[in-house]
Structures are given as structure tokens and as C-alpha cells.
């Protein structure tokens, strides 16, 4: 029996409207790499935040080295030896690497309390060298690549003598070569006795690193396996969990003429050679890992940013929007990836949010007509069955799913041909997911062309007519949904063969 360094039992965490963690359990052995997997919204991030003291659990118990603990602040967890490395690095870009490593516990000389730069740099350099990092501790943090910044974060955790290291999708933004380096460092850490919780979407991470794998789904604990005892197929089934056909009543929609054609679209540093076309009533799924460039392609089509090569045709006419306003006028609407940041005005009521994109419709010569606005917004909200007492209810008080419906209502208020949905069910509970799928199906039936960006395989397979898979800014597969399998998609999204590599680095 190996020693369990960290153990969580029956942990539950509820946020307004969502049960983020429902009675989950987890244990971490001394010196193992334990991968935590699950789809978006499975509760992984909340789980980490509970471990690192950002959130206190509503129920349940946490044992560190056999002792029950409760962390009220991240600082407390840190002091107890639990360090986390987040996807978005929380560093001080203007300071040096050494300072980033020792911030808060700087090395000072005994008498004068002067910062002992020589010692700090020496110790920092030792840490970096022990991680085989070939950069200087005097480098400015903001000038390092994401991969190197992550190494600094690891060094920081080491300097605090962390016993438990949580790594939240560390490879998401890394190139293949950088990932290799990270794997090596992570393994070295394990061999030196650090216990690591590794969160990831990528299969290759699991096969390469994990000793054990735990899967969460919809805020619940599913199971834990020894990594060598489980197959990719079983793992995917555990993550997805449900028979796809039940959640997604497949409709027979007759697709019409081509409305959108994208030819060899490219934007330097983000994506390249993107081509696809979209017909009326068709749902085209754009999938791939987070950071594959899907959102950037959508933003380009919606006029948020521009592209520097390739062409787009909307109903045969050249299309190049300079802003979302022009995109909407041309007939392309988008549901942004982050609805709170880009979709909604949280302080406002439902009605005003819905009419925001179509103020021209509810006004005459610039004067807003209140009664007309009310009916208009009310009608759309009802059509999408937003669940709220009144259209004067503040959006901030709604659940994720209902907020999403409000954003959909908002873009539907415009006269559109193409609708781009970027992760429409992110952070939405299962019930509301079904409702949103229903809506998406309805929209296709009404003849809209739909681009669905999603990382969730069941969504992609269940809803779409065709699938485009992206990886590192390029299209790696283009297939009809009928007959496509998860493995096929996942392989195109994650696995990289040598030939592909050579092409990618060119």
C-alpha cells in the first residue's frame, strides 16, 4: 500500500445555478503523475480551485498527508506545499525570472535586509539548471515563451518545496517540441518524489506521462484506472458517457445552396490555408483542441480581426468585414466564446440585452420606441424559452444556459444567413445543453448555415453534418459526419505523425 499524500472525499461545490462538483473523490499517491480528464465543464477547474484554496468546498473533506486540512486562501495551500501551474501564467512580466521565482520570499542578507541578488540568481539558476532550462535567471519574464514561463512556474513551485504540484492543461499552448521538454521535466519531478496532478485534454499527454487516470464528467467522479490498463476507446467513452443519439435527435434537414465559401484563409501567426464551404441548413462543426486556431478563424469571419491571405465568398459575392457591425449587416452573426466578456451586459436586464444588436429595428430615426422594443425582445426571449420571471430580470441573475439563450436571441434579432457558434455549451449544465441543441437544430431547419465550434466530441458527432478538424492553425481533416468516428476526429486533432510535423514546422 503506497502512501496517499492527498485525498479528497465526497467533495461538493455549488455555484448559483450549477453544481460544479457533486460528491467527488480523488486520491494522489506519493510520487505519481495522476492525470485528471474530462470534457469542458466536467468540473476539473473547480476541483483544482478547491485543492489550491481558491474555493472552499461546500461539503466533503480533504486530507493532506493524512491530516484533514481546510485552506481559506491560495497562500495557505501554498504554504502547506500545494502549488499550481495554471494555463494562463500568473507571472510578473516586467520582472526578472529570479524575482518571479522568489516573489514573496525573497532572499535577503541577514543584517541589512538587503536583497541578496547574487544568492537569488545563484539559487534560481540552480533551479533552472536542475530543470535543464537553457535560459538565464536574469531574463525578463515577459520576454520568455509560454513554455519557458511554465518552466519558471515549476521552478517557483520547487523553490517553495511543493509536495503536490497541480498542472492545469500545461501543454495546451505548447508546440510538440516544447511539450516533450515539459514531459521530461515532469517525469524528473516525479522521480524526485513530487506528486503531480496533471490536467489535460490530450491523449498523448496521458499515454506519455500518466501513472493513473481519473475521469470526471458533469461534476461527478466516474472512475480511476491504472494508465496502462485502459484503452483510448474506454477512456473516451468514460469521458463522453452517454449514448450520443439520445441527446441529439438527428433531424433530416435538406441542405440548400452554398452560402459561404472560405478559400485558403490565413492570418500570420494564427492560422493558415483554411478552406471549407457551408450550405443553407447545414451544420458544419469546426473542431480541434483548444488553441488550434478555431476561435481565430471565427473571429476573422465575424470581423473582429482581419486575415492577410485567402478569400471568402458570401452567397457568391466577395466578403471581407472590417468589424462585427459589417459582418452583421452582411448576414453573419456570431455567438462569442466568452459570453460574459463579449456577449452580454451583465448589469442589464434581458430585454435590453436582446435588443442591443438590433437597435435599428426597435427605433425610428434614432429614437428608441420602448413599447416596440419590449414586444420585440419579449417575443424573441419566449421563442428561445428563456427561463426568467420577466424580461426585466437582470442577466447576471440567470444561469449559464439561460444567459446563452439570451445571447442567441440577441443575434437572432438580426437578419442573418450564417451563424457562428463558438463553444455554445461551455459552462452550461446538462439540462440547458439539451435545450441549446434543440435550438441549434431548429436554426438549421430554418435554413441558417451554422458553423459550430466545439471541443466536445458528442456535440460534434451528434449535431453536425460535416466536420472540419483543425490542429495548430491548419485543417487536418475534413469529413462527412455520417460514418465518422471519434477516434478519427481525435487522431486528426491530436496525434501528429512525422510528416505532419515536418509540414508544421516549415
Amino acid at each position: 500500500m503506497e502512501t496517499k499524500i492527498l485525498e479528497l472525499q465526497n467533495v461538493t461545490k455549488v455555484f448559483p445555478g450549477v453544481k460544479a462538483l457533486d460528491n467527488v473523490q480523488f486520491d494522489l499517491r506519493q510520487g505519481e503523475i495522476h492525470c485528471l480528464m474530462g470534457e469542458n465543464g466536467a468540473g476539473k477547474s473547480t476541483f483544482i480551485k478547491v485543492i489550491t484554496g481558491v474555493h472552499a468546498p461546500d461539503e466533503g473533506e480533504m486530507l493532506l498527508g493524512g491530516e484533514p486540512v481546510l485552506f481559506r486562501t491560495p497562500r495557505e495551500a501554498y504554504k502547506a506545499g500545494i502549488a499550481a501551474i495554471y494555463q494562463h501564467v500568473t507571472a510578473y512580466p516586467d520582472l526578472t525570472v529570479a524575482e518571479n521565482i522568489f516573489m514573496g520570499h525573497e532572499r535577503v542578507t541577514p543584517w541589512t535586509r538587503r536583497i541578496d541578488w547574487a544568492r537569488m540568481h545563484r539559487e534560481a539558476q540552480d533551479l533552472l539548471d536542475s530543470l535543464d532550462a537553457n535560459f538565464s535567471s536574469r531574463e525578463r519574464m515577459g520576454n520568455l515563451s509560454v513554455a519557458r514561463q511554465q518552466i519558471v512556474e515549476i521552478a517557483k513551485a520547487l523553490s517553495a518545496q511543493a509536495r503536490v504540484l497541480v498542472m492545469d492543461e500545461p501543454t495546451a499552448a505548447l508546440t510538440r517540441y516544447e511539450s516533450e521538454e515539459l514531459y521530461r521535466i515532469t517525469e524528473d519531478l516525479r522521480n524526485s518524489g513530487v506528486s503531480i496532478i496533471f490536467i489535460s485534454h490530450r491523449m498523448e499527454d496521458i499515454w506519455r506521462l500518466a501513472d493513473r487516470v481519473t475521469v470526471f464528467r458533469d461534476g461527478r467522479y466516474i472512475d480511476t484506472w491504472e494508465a496502462r490498463e485502459i484503452t483510448q476507446h474506454d477512456l473516451v467513452v468514460a469521458m463522453v458517457g452517454r449514448e450520443i443519439s439520445h441527446l441529439f435527435p438527428k433531424r433530416k434537414v435538406k441542405t440548400g445552396d452554398e452560402i459561404l465559401r472560405v478559400e485558403k484563409l490565413g492570418r500570420r501567426g494564427f492560422f493558415q490555408d483554411i478552406s471549407f464551404s457551408l450550405k443553407q441548413g447545414e451544420i458544419l462543426a469546426l473542431t480541434g483542441l483548444v488553441g488550434a486556431g478555431r476561435t481565430e478563424v471565427c473571429e476573422a469571419l465575424y470581423g473582429v480581426c482581419s486575415w492577410d491571405s485567402g478569400r471568402v465568398f458570401l452567397e457568391g459575392a466577395p466578403y471581407r468585414p472590417g468589424s462585427p457591425r459589417q459582418a452583421l449587416e452582411a448576414g453573419i452573426g456570431a455567438l462569442p466564446e466568452d459570453r460574459q466578456l463579449e456577449g452580454l451586459i451583465l448589469q442589464w436586464e434581458i430585454g435590453k440585452n436582446i435588443s442591443l444588436a438590433s437597435l435599428g429595428e426597435v427605433s425610428r430615426r434614432g429614437w428608441i420606441q420602448i413599447a416596440r422594443e419590449r414586444d420585440y425582445a419579449g417575443g424573441l426571449a419566449k421563442k428561445l424559452s428563456v427561463k426568467a420571471p420577466s424580461i426585466f430580470t437582470r442577466v447576471a441573475a440567470l444561469s449559464g444556459g439561460n444567459q446563452q439563450k439570451v445571447v442567441v436571441a440577441k443575434i437572432l434579432s438580426r437578419d442573418l444567413k450564417v451563424i457562428i457558434l463558438d463553444e455554445p455549451t461551455k459552462g452550461v449544465d446538462v439540462g440547458a445543453k439539451a435545450a441549446i441543441y434543440e435550438i441549434i437544430g431548429d436554426l438549421a431547419e430554418q435554413g441558417y448555415g451554422i458553423i459550430l465550434v466545439s471541443s466536445e466530441m458528442p456535440e460534434v458527432l451528434g449535431l453536425s453534418d460535416r466536420i472540419v478538424v483543425m490542429k495548430r492553425g491548419r485543417v487536418t481533416a475534413h469529413m462527412e459526419t455520417a460514418g465518422a468516428t471519434q477516434e478519427e476526429i481525435l487522431r486528426a486533432a491530436m496525434v501528429s505523425d512525422q510528416k505532419e510535423m515536418a509540414h508544421g514546422e516549415a
Binding site: T73, P74, R75, Y78, T90, A91, Y92, P93, D94, L95, E99, M103, G104, E106, V108, R113, R114, I115, W117, S136, R138, E139, R140, G142, N143, T175, R268, G269, F270, F271, Q272, G293, R472, G473, R474, G504, E505
Partner: protein, 329 residues
Amino acid sequence: MAKHNWQWNENLRELGLLLFMAILVVAIQIRNPAFLTAGNLTSLLTNTAILAILALGMMLVLVTRGIDLSIGSTIALAGMVTSLAVARYPGIPPVAAIGLGTAVGALAGMVVGLLVSRWDVLPIIATLGMMNVLRGLTYVISGGRWVSSYQMSDSFKRIATGRILGVNNLIVIALLAYLVAAWFINHTRLGRQIYAVGSNPEAAEVSGLPKRRLIFLVYTIMGSLAGLAGVLWVAKFASAQGDTATGYELQVIAACILGGVSINGGVGRLTGLFLGTVMLGIIANALPLINVSPFWQMGIQGGVVLAAVLTNVMVRRNTERTALRRRVI
């Protein structure tokens, strides 16, 4: 790749400023040979000393993503309080006078610090309000009258006119302030943490740095320096008036921005700050020498600041664009 190319970038920026200054100096010298004389250079430095002291404090404020518009008024208030005290009790030793002014400034700074750090008032709003409050108080305590040269003791005036080892006291004090600042910024935990807070406030909060206390400290330092500057100011000009140093905060901020201190926080070096301050000093000193009306000074300063800010933005955009071009996806 150069080993620490970021430092090179900063050095390059400062080198550019230095080059520009050199050209300026040569141009001025050609127009008026009286510019590069020992006498004029001494007066240039003496006149720039107060600006240099204030710029130190303002740099810290800007590093934490704040701004302090109230320091012109703090200078006036501290100067007025001190000179009233000196006029009433001529026996006060100069050191006590300096202490008094600095304390008044520190108090004003603490009020601003409290508003910004504890009650989250926008720095621009809080200091705009304090600017008027302090200016009003200056008029109120003086009853609208001036304190003139004859009311001040010689020992008090000597604070600004005296010399130590042949160097004017103001320059000595400014140098001392720079040394202390260099120590504080580069060699103490507090100093580094101030930069950390400005560089990434959220991270600072999450990792448990005393963010609010650091911000409070920064405004208190700014106030104290403004108080000190107030004493030096009235001693130098041998008069304290209600409208002393009106709008001087703008010059101080201008010096910081010219010196490469980022208004977005986290960035600011003493060498750059020094160059920025001297640059403004040269402009102020040289305009009369080359027969430019003093009324041009304000416009020129504003123009230089805007140009510096816009150049910074363009340079940054350019580097980002080339970085993207090199990025492999």
C-alpha cells in the same frame, strides 16, 4: 540572440533619448555659446533638482498604475505651512523646517493613499479632488497673503542657496534622494514588491503580496517628497504664495514619461528617469537662451510628452508584429 536583449531594448531607448539630447545641446550651443558654461550648467541642475526629487515619487506612483495630480498643491501647502512657521518662529533650525514640510506632505499623501488603496477611488479622481482641497487649504491658512523673503530667516533661505563641498544644497539633496531611491527600488523587498504589484496586480493579490499597503505606501512617499520639495521651493524662491507650483504635477509626469516610465505600470528605471528629468531641465533652461518666449515652454513640453508616448506605442506595435511574423504555428 543576445543574452539579455530586454535590457538592451531599454538601454537602446535611453541611448536614443541621450542622442536626441546631445543633438539638442549642440543645436542650443550653436545658437548661444553661453549654454555650455559652468555657471549655466550649475543653474540648470539647481533648477532641475526639485523636479528630480518629485519625479522619483511619481515614478513609483506610475509603476503601481496610479497617477498623482495633487502634488502641485501639496508643494504649495507644505511650503506655506513651513514658511508661516519660519516667519512666526525665526529660530526654527532648517532641519526642523524640512521635517515639518515633509510631515505635512506625508499627511496629504496618506489621505490620497487611503482613498486609492482602501476605498478603491480612481487615482485620477482622488488626486483631482485633493488637488483642490489642498490648494484651497493653502489659501485659507495664509489668509490669501504671501510670505515674502524678508519674513524668512537667512538660515532657512540657506537651505536652497547654501553649498556642501562647493555643490548647491538642492543638488546634494536630489543626489541623496536618488541614492536612497536606488537602494529602495533595487535592493529592498518592498521596492521590488511595488514593481510586482504594478506588473500584475491580480497575481500580486493571489500570491498574497500586501497590495493595498504597498499602494498606500507609494502615495505616502509621493506626498512626503512633495512636502520636502515644498520646503525647498519656498526656500529657493524666498516666497510662499497661494498659487505656488500650480500645474507643476504635469511637468513631473512629463519627466517620468519621457524617462520611459510606463503609465500602464510595472516599468520604470532610474537612469531613464534621470534622463527625462534633465531633458525637461534643458528645455526650460535653454528656451530663454535661444530667445524663445517662455510662453512656448508649456506647448513644447506637452508636445514632447505626446511624441514620446506615441513613439513608445509605435515601437511596441512594431516589435509585436515582428514577433508574430516569426511565430511558428
